[in-house]
């Protein structure tokens, strides 16, 4: 043990050494990411082409954001309690003979210092080369960031109830966003009061954290609160009258999956789309800054859920949001259900979540457009006829279905890897996916730059797609046969998976055919149809029950 070598045999030293010890590897990766970010920018400014330079800029920004957010989480100083029930301040530290002030100040001061320094360094050194954003308000932004960080720490430590915490956190984030745009307000208001508001926010964060932690230490937050007990009882009464039993084992398993994870994507996205966006847009309108055009808003609303679904798809294989992916809870493993049944429950849950997400998106889009005004969006000639809007609406339905299918595919693809429960496989998932993405990216870039390569690629594309498709179907058949033989999946589940794949594939092909016909490029249809069948998950789903069997029967 190297505590002595640190030299600081003080509680502060011990706390810092512990943060260092726990997150050594994370800090290393963050350092690498920050260096990569700087490197990309350097590459961009020294002889990269225009479009490639843009890409490098985006990559650099992503590296920085990823590293930075992770850094904030590390210094957030949170831990699961002994019974894996709450995420909050490490409970064992509350029992040490250390004053609450020190427990609060060490992570806040050091964490805040690191967070602000890294941000300042990056915006000072890297950002000017990245884009032409004027960062003259560096001090302002840094202080808002510090305040946000401190408030996040305060809330994470003191509010044990997860639902309440999420709501309050969201409110705090919104408040800080509003504060961020304060300097843009008209100049006829005295300029000092903005700083006073920020100073008040900043100064109240530390006492709030101190009070929260003190209450935690005194056990005021122990046990279910009166409200949660009342809520539990109300739900019990409601459940007593309603359907008392699940219709089938599958229904029960679906209920479990939905309760544990179903509302993550719709909830997070719904929160952003229905709360944050309208608030921001209203704020922009009120402040007088121009709001983005409605097309841009719609594009963001299209892209963000898809992106979020990719992120959440990593975690779909979990059986409980707060457990690690390699744990298969015992109370699930001993249920008399085939592995295929568990997988189907997850698949159906993902579908329901996707559908709900897009319904929320439609509602949010209407809401935001109502705030911003539709502008030139609906000025097409077709809409002037009486049937026009109806046709437009019905035309949107296939698009929505396509988006639901796409989101579902993002969530579900590669679920087998997570279900294996082997940590080395799980750790390789992001590596595998990034490699695939980079490979595809390199292919596209090469195709754009080298014309010969593009010609040969397009010439052989149909053949390549057919070969890949055949391989996929072969893998799926082998996996299904193995699964059926080992009782890992029932014939009915196989039917659903294959039927679903074919059905979605046909739908995508039909839709693509219609679109290709509209844009007058019939040659494209074959590629899109084959690509759709290739991208939609079949082999993934066939392997998933076998992967779960490998986990369940070690």
């Amino acid at each position: 043990m190297n505590i002595g070598r640190l030299g600081w045999r003080t509680p502060t030293g011990a706390m810092l050494w512990e943060i260092w010890g726990r997150y050594k590897v994370s800090f290393l990766w963050q350092g690498v990411a920050l260096a990569a970010s700087a490197f990309f920018v350097y590459w961009k400014t020294h002889g990269a082409s225009e479009s490639f330079g843009d890409l490098l800029g985006v990559a650099s920004l992503c590296c920085f954001l990823g590293a930075y957010l992770h850094l904030m989480v590390c210094f957030g100083y949170m831990e699961f309690d002994a019974r894996r029930v709450q995420l909050g301040f490490p409970g064992r530290l509350l029992l040490k003979p250390v004053s609450t002030a020190r427990l609060v100040l060490v992570p806040m001061v050091f964490g805040g210092a690191v967070v602000v320094t890294i941000f300042a360094l990056w915006t000072g050194l890297v950002l000017p080369h990245l884009s032409a954003i004027n960062v003259s308000n560096l001090l302002w932004i840094s202080t808002v960031l510090l305040s946000l960080f401190w408030w996040m720490q305060a809330l994470e430590w003191s509010l044990p109830l997860l639902k309440v915490r999420s709501v309050v956190l969201l409110m705090v984030v919104v408040i800080h966003l509003l504060v961020l745009v304060l300097p843009q307000m008209p100049a006829n208001i005295a300029s000092g009061w903005q700083w006073r508001i920020l100073a008040a926010l900043l100064a109240s964060a530390v006492p709030a954290a101190w009070i929260g932690l003190k209450l935690m230490r005194q056990g005021r937050w122990e046990g279910p609160s009166q409200i949660s007990m009342l809520w539990s009882r109300l739900r019990l009464e409601r459940a007593r009258g309603a359907r008392k039993k699940f219709g089938s084992a599958f229904g029960a398993q679906f209920w479990l999956e939905w309760r544990r994870q179903g509302l993550v994507l719709p909830g997070v996205w719904g929160g952003i789309a229905l709360l944050v966006f309208p608030v921001l847009l209203t704020g922009f309108k009120w402040v007088g800054v121009g709001t983005p055009p409605p097309e841009a808003i719609l594009v963001i609303m299209l892209v963000l859920p898809l992106a979020l679904s990719v992120v959440w798809g990593f975690a779909l294989a979990k059986f409980d949001l707060f457990h690690s992916m390699s744990e298969l809870p015992v109370y699930i493993a001993v249920r008399p259900m085939t592995n295929g049944g568990f997988v189907m429950a997850k698949l159906v849950m993902a579908l329901a979540a996707s559908a709900l997400t897009w319904l929320l998106t439609v509602a949010a889009a209407c809401f935001c457009l109502a705030i911003v005004g539709t502008g030139t969006l609906f000025s097409k000639a077709e809409l002037v006829t009486p049937l026009g809007p109806v046709a437009y609406m019905t035309g949107c339905v296939p698009v929505l279905l396509l988006l639901v299918i796409w989101t579902w595919k993002n969530l579900v693809a590669g679920i087998g890897a997570g279900l294996t429960g082997r940590s080395w496989i799980i750790r390789l998932i992001p590596v595998w996916r990034s490699t695939l993405l980079l490979g595809l990216f390199a292919l596209v870039v090469a195709a754009r730059t080298y014309v010969n390569f593009r010609e040969t690629l397009l010439h052989w594309l149909t053949g390549i797609l057919i070969v890949c498709l055949t391989a996929k179907i072969a893998v799926a058949i082998i996996a299904f046969v193995l699964g059926l033989r080992r009782n890992a999946i029932t014939a009915r589940a196989v039917g659903w998976m294959v039927g679903g794949w074919l059905g979605c594939g046909l739908f995508v092909a039909g839709f693509a055919g219609h679109v290709c016909h509209e844009i007058n490029k019939p040659g494209l249809w074959m590629w899109v149809a084959l690509g759709g069948l290739l991208v939609l998950p079949l082999a993934d789903l066939a392997i998933a029950p076998l992967a779960l069997a490998w986990n369940r029967h070690r």
């Binding site: 019974r83 029930v85 046990g223 459940a239 479990l256 015992v330 109370y331 493993a333 008399p336 029967h553």
Partner: protein
């Protein structure tokens, strides 16, 4: 009531049939050529020190572990190849309870009920009242004893043909232990129900189990009816004519302890064998009795016998 209503275990078919099971975890040998046969209607006690392999054996029965060598059959089926067929007839209570903390008590009952067609709603309600569990409470707020009762409730309510309990009484106060034992016995009193439970509380095992298996470092060292296992050992006091200089070595004894000229031994064998072994080293038997399972286990595990 005809006592023969309780089927004689030795004549019935085996609900659990494990033969030649071995299991490695890396370099460590957790189970070494273990064979277990549990006939229908019997109560089998699985005893052994911590780390002897009891939980590993139980996991094999549930299909959580695959047999590396040997065969595992429950109800004649392989639990890995047919999880539905086996697990649908088995009730399981794990050592660490492993319950979903986020569910309420009534939600967990509803969830479990959906998987077992044989769920007896009236019996479940009766157990709920008897165990004094509040259906509106979240499982993570229940105490250890209440969680054990919850786990037991959801394993008993569908009247499984086989009940597997891993340390059901560990960490529980005597009142809860009493409730659990009563519930187990009520299940056994019905025809055809089989129970396998592992426990450190050997007086419970002696009361309730009619067969006992003892595992030591992954091997089966004792296997038989409870009275036979006890009857096969003698706890005796040997008096030496000449005071031995150091602890005497008695051939066939598992533990020797004492001081001076009188030493207590735990001997495995008949009385005649004991007298012969004692005579060999110049001692005679002055006191003897049947040892408890506790004493047998501690002695065989290498501790100092009383």
């Amino acid at each position: 009531m005809n006592p023969m209503k309780f089927p004689s275990p030795s004549s019935a078919e085996a609900v659990i049939a494990v033969s030649g099971l071995s299991r490695h975890f890396g370099p460590k040998l957790a189970l070494d050529d273990v064979s277990v046969f549990v006939p229908r209607g019997s109560v089998m006690g699985l005893v052994g020190e911590n780390g002897a392999g009891k939980t590993t054996l139980i996991k094999h029965l549930l299909g959580s572990l695959q047999a590396q060598t040997g065969r595992v059959r429950v109800f004649g089926l392989d639990p890995v190849l047919d999880p539905v067929g086996v697990l649908g007839r088995v009730g399981y209570l794990s050592e660490r309870r492993d319950l979903p903390g986020w569910m309420r008590v009534d939600e967990y009952m509803r969830y479990t009920q959906a998987f077992y067609p044989g769920w007896d709603e009236a019996y479940a309600g009766q157990l709920l009242e008897q165990f004094r569990l509040d259906p509106a409470q979240k499982i993570k707020t229940l105490s250890q004893g209440q969680q054990a009762k919850m786990g037991l409730l959801t394993s008993l309510a569908y009247r499984p043909e086989l009940l597997i309990l891993d340390e059901p009484s560990s960490g529980l106060d005597p009142v809860v232990r009493r409730d659990i034992l009563e519930a187990i016995i009520r299940l056994v009193a019905e025809e055809g129900r089989t129970v396998l439970f592992s426990s450190h509380l050997l007086d419970e095992v002696e009361r309730v189990a009619d067969h006992v298996i003892m595992l030591q470092r992954g091997r089966v060292v004792l296997n038989g009816r409870t009275e036979e296992v006890r009857g096969g050992h003698i706890s005796a006091v040997l008096a030496f004519a000449e005071t031995p200089v150091k602890a005497p070595v008695v051939d066939g004894a598992y533990a020797v302890a004492g001081y001076g000229s009188e030493w207590r031994v735990l001997f495995g064998g008949t009385r005649l064998e004991l007298e012969a072994a004692a005579a060999l080293i110049g001692a005679r038997v002055v006191e003897e009795r049947t040892p408890t399972l506790d004493e047998i286990m501690v002695a065989r595990a290498g501790g100092k016998g009383s």
